[in-house]
């Protein structure tokens, strides 16, 4: 027994960290390095310094995209936070009725590709839109459309982050303020706002990056307004100007890295400000406030359901806006067309493959980091590389993959154009969150658990099977669901990598939208949303079943 444990430990202590590190380096670091390198070489491959950046800044029409990206993302982030803060406040701090339902509605957009809100916008506010007059004569295609659809797309992320921040408040501060005769407004201004400011910073930076790097929305409703995310696509796919593409990649990457740095800093500061003795804030009942919040939340929820509803309606209409007879026409065309049908199958394969491979790997890296397996430097490197993808926009990662795997000198060149490479890219793209889920779950287990297992003659593999796997099971299901839904709806990471055989449904949505076949595009987006919904419900059911079986979790 002891012999097997020792052999297991040697494998785990040296081979496993090395192997995981290698996978992470190939999946994230090397493609990024390839992209960064490309931005600083000329067409012939010689070192060009900042020449490419100078060319970008001086060539007419290019640099304006950078300004558009910045200003529109800032505007959309501001509006999103203004809407999300009261919404999250109502969910966490009020006694407003229907809080659970409002929470569910706010999460709905997470299940759809970012294009879905864009379609909803077109049906509502486009040139033939039902509520065209609401824009007061402004044109949807362009700034207005980008901002509106982005707000809708980013809202659930902001609500999630802000409600987590607001839920973590300290009830004792409110009691102290009340004892000092502070009225409700004063309590809000002196306790609630300051204690949630880090959550606001965090949510703002996350939303900014989401909007800044999103590809789907500006493609569909951007009109003639160029942003970095669409420019990078046009430069690489349309002009084969890889150097300019790499420059735009760097321009997308740097603000994203900075924003995530700010986010990480804000989170750390907020954690430090909460002591272990904090008392949860009890949601108080205040009739007027709760009524006002209810009206506000209802308005936001109606808008969300309206936009999604319009997209669903659009997918059911025969030929908008000329023939509004309802039917499954668009859906049956999807099923009839072999190419489109394959795209749905590809999406399922991609999602399942990404979820299976990603969950297994993230569980291992999470275990390595949380339980301190292997050499310290290897663990540190694994943690750093696992944290990297969250700051890397999908477009940048995807372009890095092109540069890295298309290189004939690369021994992994053969992966190019395969479904396997799409899976690898999706795993890398969405790696950080599931990795952190595994880390934080495993950190909650007492450090001495490992030692206890060792003293009872169980090697790492045996302890993993008998303790960590059962302990982690519900988290594994969550990680699987996260990878699955994200791989199902992602566009940006794959837009440079797919070919006719590996095209996924989310990319097909973009292609159809580019061809102005909005009905079919909307149908595709609805199918994707339905699949994501099924996957999410399945995840919740499996998780609940596991938790019910694991009686040891209940006190």
């Amino acid at each position: 027994m002891a012999g097997r444990g020792m052999a297991g430990r040697r494998v785990l202590g040296h081979a496993l960290p090395g192997m995981l590190l290698l996978l992470l380096v190939v999946g994230t670091a090397l493609p990024l390095a390839a992209l960064l390198g490309r931005a600083f070489v000329d067409r012939g491959g010689g070192f060009a310094g900042f020449d490419n950046f100078v060319r970008y800044a001086t060539e007419p029409g290019l640099a304006v995209a950078a300004w558009n990206s910045f200003s529109l993302s800032a505007l959309a982030s501001g509006i999103t936070i203004l809407l999300a803060y009261p919404y999250a406040y109502a969910l966490t701090r009020s006694a407003m009725p229907g809080r659970f339902a409002f929470r569910l509605v706010a999460m709905l957009p997470l299940l759809a590709p970012s294009l879905l809100p864009a379609f909803g916008m077109i049906y509502l506010f486009g040139n033939q839109g039902a509520l065209r007059s609401w824009l007061l004569g402004a044109e949807l295609y362009g700034e207005v459309g980008i901002v509106l659809a982005s707000v809708f797309y980013a809202l659930p992320h902001a609500v999630l982050l802000l409600s987590a921040g607001l839920a973590a408040g300290d009830g004792r501060l409110y009691e102290a303020a009340q004892a000092l005769r502070a009225g409700p407004w004063r309590r809000f201004a002196t306790v609630t706002l300051p204690s949630s400011r880090y959550a606001v910073v965090s949510a703002t930076s996350v939303v900014f990056v989401l909007v800044f790097t999103d590809f789907g929305i500006p493609t569909v409703v951007g009109g003639s307004v160029n942003v970095l995310a669409t420019d990078i696509y046009k430069l690489v796919i349309g002009r084969f100007d890889f150097e300019m593409g790499a420059v735009v990649g760097v321009l997308l990457l740097v603000p994203a890295v900075v924003a995530y740095g700010i986010d990480a800093l804000a989170r750390r500061t907020q954690r430090a400000s909460l002591s272990g003795r904090s008392v949860p804030v009890a949601a108080g009942r205040m009739k007027v406030r709760d009524a006002a919040l209810f009206v506000f939340c209802a308005a936001v929820a109606v808008a969300i359901l309206g936009v999604i509803g319009m997209a669903v309606w659009g997918s059911l209409v025969r030929f908008w806006p000329y023939n509004l007879t309802l039917g499954l026409h668009n859906y049956s065309r999807l099923m009839a067309d072999a190419d489109e049908f394959r795209a749905v199958a590809n999406s399922l394969w991609l999602a399942a493959g990404t979820a299976a491979a990603g969950t297994a790997m993230a569980a291992l890296t999470g275990w390595l980091v949380a339980r301190k397996v292997g050499a310290g430097w290897a663990r540190g490197a694994v943690q750093a590389l696992a944290m990297l993808p969250v700051a890397v926009p999908g477009l940048v990662l995807g372009l890095g993959y092109v540069f890295f795997f298309n290189n004939p000198a690369n021994p992994l060149h053969g992966l190019q154009g395969t479904m396997a490479l799409l899976v690898v890219c999706s795993v890398a793209h969405f790696y950080t969150v599931p990795h952190l889920m595994a880390v934080s779950a495993l950190l909650r287990l007492d450090r001495e658990i490992d030692l206890a297992a060792q003293s009872l003659r169980a090697g790492p593999v045996s302890a993993g099977r008998r303790i960590y796997l059962p302990y982690l099971a519900p988290v594994l299901v969550e990680m699987f669901g996260y990878f699955f839904v994200n791989a199902m709806t992602t566009v940006s990471a794959l837009i440079f990598l797919f070919n006719a055989q590996t095209r996924t449904a989310s990319i097909a949505v973009v292609n159809l939208a580019e061809g102005s076949r909005f009905g079919q595009a909307a149908a595709f987006a609805v199918v994707l949303m339905a699949l994501s919904l099924v996957a999410t419900c399945g995840q919740l059911l499996v998780r609940a079943a596991i938790l019910r079986r694991q009686r040891w979790r209940v006190r």
Partner: protein
């Protein structure tokens, strides 16, 4: 090792079950364990006692194999185990946090080690039932750790550690997470159980009363080194240093100004000693336990008599702690309440005697 090497009690006669020599552990430049050496006889209950950060837990982890020593050797049952990983050594361990497996019920926790070594189902069931009966948890077999009280969790951890019938039982502050009442009760049970099983036991603790009450011998550590090894009574009455003296209990300590034969001079007074101590280093202390100080009528006729006044009287239940002031340094005295019959009032005059046989000359810490 400065002190206490000769005082190894009974361990010198039988071949030691566990012997540690020159054990050293560094973290970076910090030496956490410095050239530690001691022996433990089979069946002995030895406590490693010291303040937090003294290296006692690291020493236990080295003996368990959770840490690798930078120098030195550990021999257990005649074999060198220094290089062996934990799972190849023969010990059971109870942690301060108990580290029970949350996903396994009481029986599952106790059976864990038996499963590792491939015991049959019947063997496991019999052994688990026996162990749980032994620690008095037979009716809780199917409960999970989260459903148990602290004391019950501690018993499960103990049963789990004993399941493989280890030659050596390691206890890392096993009682410190418990309430005072439960702690005292479990301490006595632990001691009785250890006697009955005869398993060689090494317990780390920072609680001197716990060490004094359960250990056959105590190893006092400070700053990564062993300060002294000995039986509880020997350490209490004949500490080798001011550190050991203070760590094992309250102590009056007066800076020693001069030593002339068997007469010691401290600030303001001279005191007679029972015998002339060997040459003492500079910075030595003259010490006496507060309980050994004699007050009132009983002080009459004794040597080393001082006229003092009560500066403070603290009622502690069984005893009264008096702080007494006179010409020299203040003296602390613990006097049985039954003997005093009342709590002396502040300012009251009181005769005090420091019996020569109870005075100790101890080297300082520097």
């Amino acid at each position: 090792m400065p002190h206490g090497q000769g005082d190894q009690g009974g361990a010198a006669h039988a071949p030691p079950y566990l012997s540690v020599t020159g054990l050293t552990k560094r973290y970076g430049t910090a030496q956490v364990v410095r050239e530690v050496g001691f022996e433990v006889a089979g069946g002995e209950f030895v406590c490693i006692l010291g303040p937090s950060g003294c290296g006692k837990t690291t020493l236990l982890r080295l003996i368990a194999g959770f840490e690798r020593a930078d120098a030195g050797a550990i021999r257990q049952a005649g074999a060198d185990v220094t290089a062996l990983p934990p799972e190849a050594r023969d010990f059971g361990i109870v942690f301060q946090s108990y580290a029970l497996f949350p996903n396994r019920d009481v029986a599952g926790n106790v059976a864990f080690g038996l499963e590792s070594v491939g015991a049959t189902r019947a063997e496991r069931q019999a052994r688990v039932a026996g162990l749980l009966a032994m620690v008095g948890l037979a009716e809780h077999v199917r409960k999970y750790p989260s459903q148990l009280s602290g004391g019950q969790q501690q018993r499960v951890a103990l049963a789990r550690a004993l399941a493989l019938q280890p030659g050596l039982l390691l206890l890392d502050e096993p009682l410190s997470a418990l309430d005072a009442n439960v702690r005292a009760h479990l301490r006595d049970e632990l001691r009785a159980l250890q006697r009955r099983l005869g398993v060689t036991t090494l317990m780390v603790t920072h609680d001197q009363s716990e060490a004094l009450s359960v250990a056959d011998r105590i190893i006092v550590m400070n700053g990564g080194r062993i300060e002294q090894i000995g039986t509880p009574a020997a350490l209490y009455t004949r500490p080798a240093s001011l550190f050991v003296g203070r760590f094992l209990g309250e102590l009056n300590a007066f800076p020693l100004q001069a030593l002339e034969g068997s007469t010691a001079r401290i600030a303001g007074t001279r005191l007679v000693l029972a015998d002339a101590p060997a040459a003492v280093s500079a910075g030595a202390w003259l010490c006496i336990r507060p309980a050994a100080v004699v007050v009132g009528e009983e002080a009459a006729g004794q040597e080393n008599r001082l006229a003092m006044r009560v500066a403070a009287a603290l009622f502690m239940g069984d005893s009264v702690r008096l702080t007494l002031e006179g010409e020299g340094p203040a003296v602390m005295a613990d006097v049985a309440f039954a003997r005093l019959g009342r709590i002396p009032s502040v300012g009251e005059a009181m005769a005090v005697a420091l019996p020569a046989s109870q005075l100790m000359v101890l080297p300082g810490d520097g």
